[in-house]
Symmetry: C2
DNA sequence: ATTAGCACTCTTATATGCGGAGTGCTAAAA
DNA sequence: TTTTAGCACTCCGCATATAAGAGTGCTAAT
């Protein structure tokens, strides 16, 4: 629903939110009046505040405290009030300087970017990496571990590695496996996963006529491999200890709740997935995350790409009272940074 | 240094420790007297307690509180007093029933075992997995990612996968790479890492005479690969939220410290490494861990094996006031369980 | 429409008092 | 000589009382 506010009301709301973000304390009419952005008396401010409270943008923790912004207020703030400016080049330089991935490998780059992101934003940061089904096929290989156990190794175009144990009845020696993988690599090269599935079925039909047992086996094995939603995406979480710095989470039971959410990951993966399907920085405030335990928390996230394709999302979780004006551009920059790093190769 | 105690003193110490483990409250003379294990008056107990305090086995948090065991006391308790009994079969059954790894793959088994361990012990659990250098060579493969980037994939005999990005000057097509890996698999099969290194150097000498450029390249690449202490071991941590259940860690700053230690992992890896070199269950109490932030914490850990070879360690971290009599056998059983699961294949 | 003034509410910090738990010491009992 | 009862003492934890401060809503005057 639309929110219509007079300029004055906007100014008051803006002042309250920025002040509250800075200090964490409820903001009173006196304080706002003194800020001088409006040059009216506290009493006038109080009237405006009462109005804002009626619309559901402010609440008081108790009768004689100042006002605190509601979720709706943050939403409105993020949508219409906040001024996000780009980072200065010196800030960008700073971030890049802090970034020292141990290698140029996909996972290392991703994790290190996440680390820096959490450091810069002083929030918990998360990165989702694509499940195999999201990426393009690059390479498959089979390794014989024992008589009836074969390790399938899949490499995506992005250089990520997925693997899966396969149990087989009959025995394959490594040579046969090499043959199988060569064949599969040949026919599946560069396909997206959807196409891989189709291709396999199609090949199975035609191979049936050739009666080539080994290749048929290769196809069967790979079909099982690609059929199961085997290889789920991962989620890296960095800087979870920043939670301890926020007074709103000091209660032990609350902390436990939050850390449980981090430990479980499922809900967060789902949430980040939504971002991955979107474009640009997205902000989920409190209940918008659809995660009960994430009340009073905000997710700011953005997808990242490689060679134009979205691979996953990177973002931060912090209190709803986070410094949006700073965090949003940082997330944005970091998402671009990771994209650049991945493409640079 | 040796600790000599009369039977009576031992009984008192034992009672205090078990009581403190159970409740977390300092134990007074009255309580012990009432327990009835000794049937003397509180006054007598007080005398004994004063003695124990003098030796450094007990302390009082303040003048008029009961006594609390010191680190030394726990050490003595673990070494000489505690009665660890094996788990009952029903308990063992219970653990096994809870264990449902999503696959029989090494990492999944390890992680799931860790999860169950933390659940049973109500402590944070950790598992270290072997770095590549600890295991035996099984398989190597190269995947061409782009003109000058090659992905090396290593599989250990245990079925663990390690990978490393290699940058090359000249271009190799996938066929050449296949050739190279075939060759390497041939000569390195089943060797331990130490032998792999030697073998590579040895081969380089002899190949030099053959002037086979591709194979020489293969050797060079693999030497880089195996020379660098590239592929470090990992550490899985599960159930870190159990920390919140212990009153001794309620202070925020303390919690932050502990979680930082979990996040960093390095120190913990080092610590678990010590265990890996040992045999059977090891207990590190407080400062014995050599980690400053782990004061008031105890690590109980044991190595696990596959086919007789030690791969890593599994263990739990909890307050020094943990239930050793329960935790020690649980860790022991779990280590054997994981060993069994890995061998069962 | 705005604002000064004021009574009112609620929180937070500080002081105060008191019961309880546990001790150490002493002197008596075993 | 060892054990124990008795007692004075200490310190914590808890509840209660009190005061200061911050902020509000309302009213009446500007």
């Amino acid at each position: 629903m639309e929110i219509e506010l007079s300029n004055r009301a906007k100014t008051v709301l803006f002042t309250i939110i920025t002040d509250f973000i800075r200090t964490g304390d409820p903001v009173g009419s006196r304080t706002i009046s003194k800020r001088g952005a409006l040059d009216v008396s506290p009493a006038t401010i109080r009237n405006i505040m009462a109005d804002l409270e009626e619309i559901g943008l402010l609440v008081q923790p108790h009768t004689s405290a100042g006002r605190v912004p509601t979720e709706r207020a943050y939403r409105f703030y993020v949508d219409s009030l906040v001024k996000v400016s780009d980072l200065t080049t010196s800030e960008e330089r700073m971030i890049e300087k802090n970034l020292n991935p141990p290698s140029r490998e996909f996972k290392d780059v991703v994790r290190e970017t996440s680390r820096v992101l959490s450091e810069m934003s002083r929030c918990v940061s998360m990165v989702s990496t694509p499940g195999f089904s999201e990426t393009q096929f690059k390479y498959i290989d089979f390794v014989r571990l024992s008589e009836n156990r074969i390790l399938a190794i899949l490499v995506s175009k992005t250089g990520m590695i997925y693997n899966k144990l396969i149990r087989v009845e009959e025995e394959f020696n490594q040579e046969k496996l090499a043959w199988m993988s060569r064949y599969l690599n040949d026919i599946l090269s560069e396909l997206t996963l959807k196409d891989v599935r189709r291709k396999i079925i199609q090949e199975m039909r035609s191979e049936k006529n050739l009666y080539d047992n080994i290749l048929m086996n290769a196809l069967k094995m790979s079909r099982n491999l690609f059929d199961a939603e085997i290889i789920d995406d991962e989620l890296f979480i960095e800087g979870s200890t920043y939670i301890f710095d926020y007074p709103e989470f000091t209660e032990i039971s609350r902390m436990k709740e939050i850390f449980k959410t981090f430990e479980n990951k499922n809900n967060l993966i789902k949430l980040l997935d939504k971002v991955t399907r979107a474009d640009g920085v997205k902000v989920y405030i409190g209940s918008e995350t659809n995660i009960q335990t994430m009340r009073d928390c905000t997710l700011v996230a953005s997808p990242y790409r490689k060679e134009g394709n979205i691979l996953g999302s990177i973002g931060v979780i912090g209190p709803t009272r986070m410094d949006y004006a700073k965090v949003i551009p940082i997330v944005d920059f970091t998402a671009h940074l990771i994209t650049r790093l991945l493409d640079e190769e």
